[in-house]
């Protein structure tokens, strides 16, 4: 390695900037467009972690990712006002998370209410539009509905448990390139 190359490399990490501990940065640097490479790097890394986890842990991978999602759900929702109304809790959650995950409560045209009762089950359909999980899977050419989707499953269940105190489970009904349909089954 030549000395000039090392000097050049060191030069790239030096500046005249005076940085004091009390100066809290008020915005992310660099700007969003320059963050693209970082975002792709994170997506690639996440994809590889999930692929490796699946290879080593097999079906156990789902339990790990579900747990991670559930923690995330509890973490986000603990600042919410506790309420019993699941439909309202979901709407609130959806507004707060726009950007990472955006979802809406959804019903087929024939149904009267968003809370559907069918075959002894009470459930709500959720359509996930923007989803960092889907983006990551498609970035890596991985199949949808696998362990990484379990994070979302855990996330919604954790948040609902935290807000309403009710137990729930989430079922993936359909995955698509633009949106995914999930069924939140209430217990």
């Amino acid at each position: 390695m030549s000395a000039s190359y090392i000097d050049e490399m060191h030069e790239a990490f030096r500046s005249e900037l005076v940085y004091r501990p009390e100066e809290i940065p008020l915005e992310c640097t660099p700007g969003p467009k320059e963050m693209e490479q970082t975002l792709h790097g994170v997506m690639k890394l996440n994809g590889l972690i999930i692929r490796s986890l699946e290879e080593i842990a097999g079906r156990g991978a789902n339990a790990v990712t579900y747990r991670a999602g559930k923690k995330f759900g509890h973490e986000i929702a603990k600042y919410f006002q506790k309420r019993e109304d699941v439909e309202g809790a979901l709407r609130e959650l959806s507004d707060l998370l726009r950007g990472q995950y955006s979802f809406e409560v959804w019903k087929p045209e024939g149904e009267e209410s968003f809370i559907i009762e069918k075959d002894g089950e009470t459930f709500i359909y959720l359509v996930f539009h923007d989803c960092i999980v889907r983006q990551t899977l498609r970035r890596n050419g991985l199949e949808q509905g696998g362990p990484l989707c379990q994070t979302l499953y855990g996330y919604v269940v954790g948040a609902i448990e935290e807000i309403t105190g009710r137990k729930a489970r989430l079922e993936i009904v359909h995955t698509g390139p633009n949106a995914c349909l999930k069924k939140l089954i209430l217990k």
């Binding site: 359909h174 698509g176 949106a179």
Partner: protein, 80 residues
């Protein structure tokens, strides 16, 4: 939701009928017909699966596409 099927392009394979979880499409005279367009939740699986690219959705919410590389798109734009 406004779903349009290009009748000349549709090959009547029925893949959209099988794939749609909300049973939006039906095959009529070997052409796919969106019989329940209001039940469509906009997943666009039918777009991905249609070999003839015969489908068009209007009034849909396009999900963010972070996985598309801006640099690759810039290069493609130059070529196309």
């Amino acid at each position: 939701m406004d779903i349009r099927v290009d009748k000349d392009a549709c090959v009547g394979c029925g893949l959209c009928v099988k794939d749609c979880p909300m049973h939006v499409y039906e095959l009529q005279d070997n052409v796919s017909v969106p019989v329940r367009p209001n039940d469509c939740m906009g997943c666009l699986s039918c777009h991905e699966i249609c070999p003839a690219q015969a489908l068009e959705h209007r009034g849909i919410y396009p999900a963010r596409r972070h996985y598309i590389d801006i640099k690759v798109c810039e290069m493609l734009r130059k070529v196309i």
